[in-house]
């Protein structure tokens, strides 16, 4: 009976807060979210960006872990919380919940507590999911769900989903994408593609499209420069890239992931990432075909992966030997 009460309490607790806004866009919590999660070990800290100061806790079924946060004001009135994960926190997948006054928000699949970061691990890579498209007899949602089911059964530690998440950037397609994304049992890091650029819809659903994260000894930067080529100052992405690249300068491997890479894209971004302090590896999609080579500047190796909407994915082995792409796999049928 006591166990039952605890279970009911846990269920009530997990349903007390609304996840995101009713239309699926980000609400009180901007990051982390299910497209830009935090991966930490017990005793570590992670950063969250919220619309205002709030009480924060990590939530996983009956597990409710209050998070101590140090707050910093950001330009525009947002707040950054540096959240401390207790050393006693159990490993698991957590939602981040925040409460400010009568406003409450919960971002599911946004905090992953791991026991340790392995020296060798595997990344899953999906690109060009094109949710909402009707280019095959099966829907994009059905095809990509099958691809996600395969990656769920893999040994991957996390998954990169590099843009063209939707067919035309409509909010309804982003909501459909979220449903497919949340069938993934691994941390998922997304970035925007050219098909996702309809106004600010991408930002409303996932937040910044330029960000970085550390995974153990390695550093990762998400960016998308192509659409910035005519207005390079917009949003300050160049400055973000410079700061992020410096922040992961001492990592074992520095990896960029983007929807696409072309020599004609924003030159400042290329100078930062491939010339001044070259990334070790660049992972992208857009081409809907496999490709491996070195960027025109030399040094940085790149890998493109065929489209998930065509049933494909690829894995990378990351170890002391480097970031090694495996051959792409066709894992789902399109008809």
């Amino acid at each position: 009976m006591r166990r039952l009460l605890v279970l009911i309490a846990a269920i009530m607790a997990t349903t007390a807060a609304a996840a995101r806004a009713p239309d699926g866009t980000l609400a009180l919590i901007e990051t982390p979210n299910n497209g830009i999660p935090a991966i930490v070990t017990p005793g570590q800290r992670f950063e969250a960006v919220l619309a205002e100061r709030a009480d924060t806790l990590a939530l996983a079924g009956p597990q409710r872990i209050p998070l101590e946060a140090a707050w910093t004001a950001l330009p525009g009135g947002k707040m950054r919380a540096t959240c401390s994960v207790p050393a006693s926190a159990p490993v698991g997948v957590y939602a981040l919940e925040a409460t400010a006054g009568d406003q409450s928000d919960r971002n599911s699949r946004s905090v992953y507590i791991r026991s340790t970061f392995p020296a060798s691990y595997v990344i899953g890579h999906l690109s060009d999911t094109h949710i909402g498209s009707n280019r095959h007899p099966r829907t994009a949602e059905a095809i990509v769900s099958d691809v996600v089911a395969v990656v769920n059964r893999s040994e991957a530690d996390f998954v990169l989903v590099t843009g063209d998440l939707t067919e035309n950037g409509d909010p309804a397609q982003f909501r459909s994408f979220l449903k497919v994304l949340d069938t993934c049992t691994l941390p998922t890091f997304v970035c925007a593609g050219n098909h996702d650029r309809k106004g600010l819809n991408y930002v409303r659903f996932f937040g910044p499209d330029t960000y970085m994260f550390r995974y153990g000894a390695d550093g990762y930067i998400s960016f998308d420069t192509k659409d910035r080529s005519t207005t390079p100052e917009w949003g300050g992405q160049d400055a973000d890239l410079e700061v992020f690249r410096s922040a992961i300068e001492q990592t074992r491997w520095a990896v960029g992931f983007s929807h696409r890479y072309e020599l004609g894209q924003g030159m400042r971004s290329q100078l930062i990432l491939f010339v001044d302090n070259p990334l070790d590896h660049l992972i992208f999609g857009h081409w809907h075909r496999a490709g491996e080579d070195v960027v025109p500047w030399g040094t940085t190796r790149y890998t493109s992966t065929p489209a998930a909407v065509n049933g494909s994915l690829r894995y990378f082995d990351v170890s002391a030997e480097g970031v090694k792409p495996r051959r792409p796999e066709r894992v789902a049928t399109i008809r």
């Binding site: 330009p75 005519t230 100052e233 400055a239 700061v243 400042r268 001044d276 070195v294 500047w297």
Partner: protein, 320 residues
């Protein structure tokens, strides 16, 4: 307004989303804003030397075109281009021509005749043209082979395009070159050079040895000469985030103009009298225009719109 207050007009790009970015002109004293562009991904506004015309880039069916317009929004006209994609407009010192990138080469447009002429003797992959004098342009060229590409500054004339001579550069090259700014007198250039991963602002001239003006282990970008030619503004990450700094080439004294730990400050443009600098900052959230004096004091906010206000260009007028 007092005599000490900044005045004049500044062109800039404003919008809520890239699709509706529009070139506007703000009156510095009153803050009144006039939309002068078509509002189709407008970008890169540049004033003619006499301040009579504003050239900028805007999206057209199948590409980008260069437009010209007066400060009050009148006489808007689109250049009839040979190439579909056009960008990076730059006025000749005498104001009779515009250079820009058409396709992947440098094109010079005669404002009086409306005729486009390709410069550079057929050399392609040239970008960011800036005039040194009425006969010569500097442009950055993408050279080398795949896997060993690099950027070099070229002197571009009507029939030729030649890399700057190696003797101009400091020892230890080759360098990856970018963001070149000719001195207002035309006798020297400031440009970015990457030396072993450290990007600094250098001063090159035929009369003097090359000098590292910014000399800091963090990245230093985008030199902009003060109209009187006695100082430069540039962007640097020496305070972690992107800030605007000044340097006097004679003494190498570097001083902060607009820098903060928690926000970015960029795109400096000098007032014609060399006393003020307008720039973009996201210190209040969206990128907005601000003005400070030449030493970084007397900060004032110039714009306050939903969405970014970027790419300021102060209208020439009074001589320094």
């Amino acid at each position: 307004m007092t005599a000490a207050d900044p005045s004049g007009q500044i062109a800039f790009v404003s919008g809520t989303e890239q699709e509706d970015y529009c070139v506007c002109v703000v009156d510095v004293a009153s803050g009144a804003v006039t939309r002068v562009g078509p509002g189709r991904r407008d970008n890169s506004p540049v004033w003619s030397p006499d301040g009579e015309w504003l050239a900028f880039v805007s999206e057209v069916e199948g590409g980008n075109a260069i437009y010209m317009v007066r400060a009050d929004g009148s006489d808007l006209k689109k250049i009839d281009h040979k190439y579909e994609w056009n960008s990076d407009p730059s006025w000749s010192p005498d104001g009779t021509r515009l250079a820009y990138v058409g396709g992947d080469q440098i094109v010079v447009y005669n404002v009086a005749t409306g005729i486009e002429t390709e410069w550079g003797g057929g050399i392609r992959r040239l970008a960011r043209p800036v005039w040194v004098n009425d006969d010569s342009i500097l442009a950055v060229g993408l050279v080398g082979t795949l896997g060993s590409a690099t950027l070099e500054v070229f002197t571009v004339n009507q029939d030729t395009a030649e890399p700057l001579p190696a003797s101009l550069f400091p020892p230890g090259g080759p360098y990856v070159e970018w963001a070149v700014a000719p001195h207002p007198a035309g006798n020297a250039i400031a440009l970015e050079l990457n030396r072993e991963g450290d990007r600094d602002i250098f001063l090159l001239s035929l009369q003097d040895i090359p000098r590292d003006l910014s000399n800091h282990p963090t990245a230093d970008w985008n030199p902009v000469w003060r109209p009187d030619g006695r100082a430069l503004a540039f962007e640097s990450f020496r305070a972690v985030r992107r800030g605007i700094y000044g340097v006097y080439p004679d003494t190498l004294r570097v001083f902060p103009i607009a820098a903060a730990l928690d926000s970015d400050n960029w795109s400096p443009t000098w007032s014609p009298d060399s006393r003020w600098i307008a720039f973009v900052s996201n210190r209040t959230g969206d990128p907005e225009l601000f003005v400070v004096d030449a030493e970084g004091r007397q900060l004032r906010r110039l714009t306050d719109h939903v969405g970014p206000d970027i790419s300021p260009a102060w209208r020439p007028g009074r001589k320094p």
